[in-house]
Symmetry: C3
Subunit: 160 residues, 3 copies
Amino acid sequence: MDQVNRVDHFRQISHAQAAYARAIDSGELESWPDFFVEDCVYRITTADNYKAGYEGSLVYCFSRGMLADRVTALRLANIYEGQSYRHILGQPSILAETADEVQSETPFMVARIMRDGTTDLFATGRYLDRYKVDGATPKLAERVVVCDSSRVDTLLALPL
Amino acid sequence: MDQVNRVDHFRQISHAQAAYARAIDSGELESWPDFFVEDCVYRITTADNYKAGYEGSLVYCFSRGMLADRVTALRLANIYEGQSYRHILGQPSILAETADEVQSETPFMVARIMRDGTTDLFATGRYLDRYKVDGATPKLAERVVVCDSSRVDTLLALPL
Amino acid sequence: MDQVNRVDHFRQISHAQAAYARAIDSGELESWPDFFVEDCVYRITTADNYKAGYEGSLVYCFSRGMLADRVTALRLANIYEGQSYRHILGQPSILAETADEVQSETPFMVARIMRDGTTDLFATGRYLDRYKVDGATPKLAERVVVCDSSRVDTLLALPL
């Protein structure tokens, strides 16, 4: 039974990760906050800062409302029109799990495609996630995006 | 039972995708048409054109015979000798399914490796697929390759 | 029963691959040899050399002790401080399997992140693996890393 639950969690988290990436890469930014619980944390930091235990983050949101505000700002700035992302995710590693919560780590590579067609490797890193799994669909209680590079574009636009 | 079938389809499609990428990246082009049903559609387009609903495609084949012809042309032109690809695929999202057909979307990143060893990020995008799953192995009834960039190499050589 | 075992092997290998990449990308080099059996082979070669059947390898280790020595050398040279990798792996293809051994092929893309933040696509290729699966965790009896490019950085530092 424990084994069965573990398997289910793994598959649930995998599907949730794929859906998250697909929403952003398809430009459906308005659905991005729906991947989080109301009382969530979303932040982007670098591997160096994370390792050193610094709290400083490139982006720091601590509620679903803040995520929605961020989407509104992106739409107003027309940033979505200027570029798109393509996320390719590795397989999640389940680090800890209880009946209603799963902690996982998932590596990512993100390519950025500019309006003129230029494509570059924009960011690599890993998601450190805490998922609530007590409902039909897992929701993020916390996502820390740890970028490998110390030089992440300060114009960070679309969500990672 | 429905849940079980859904799980099976997901795994079947995942395996079919991996086999497809492996055939191309190993240079086994002659086996590429075998991933399709006889009466198939294969086309490559851009995200902009796809969104706008344009029918225009960079590559358009509408039978397995046309795919085989394309492989012959590539062999005659010795294009295979000049470069190779490496596909890395994300997890498929199952968009719709019946007992004998599955529609899915799968993100991809393709690196191109030139004869002199130069490696670049060649293309990113997603496969929009319609798979026939009534046989032992799923076969593609339709694959629309939607490239994120509007600037895809017009010398598009190997299949994506 | 055979079908069930096949499924288990696939999942076991997938998890082992993810754990391997995670150890290297997190800088936990000391745990790298633990992914192998004592009497193992680890080598890095190019697609051209592999195809031609050449034995010559860029890196060739034939015991777990040699892998540990390599890690020690990397630590002494402080190479780990200068760069990190990010592996993104495709899904493994199971090529052959018995009750205690599985042969698989897994495609990879590796980005390299330098100390100054520069990120590039460092290597692409595939792992040709022979896994011992008779214990709780699959262990590598053999890993041949076949790089697509003939021009792999001769300063090859971290393990692929």
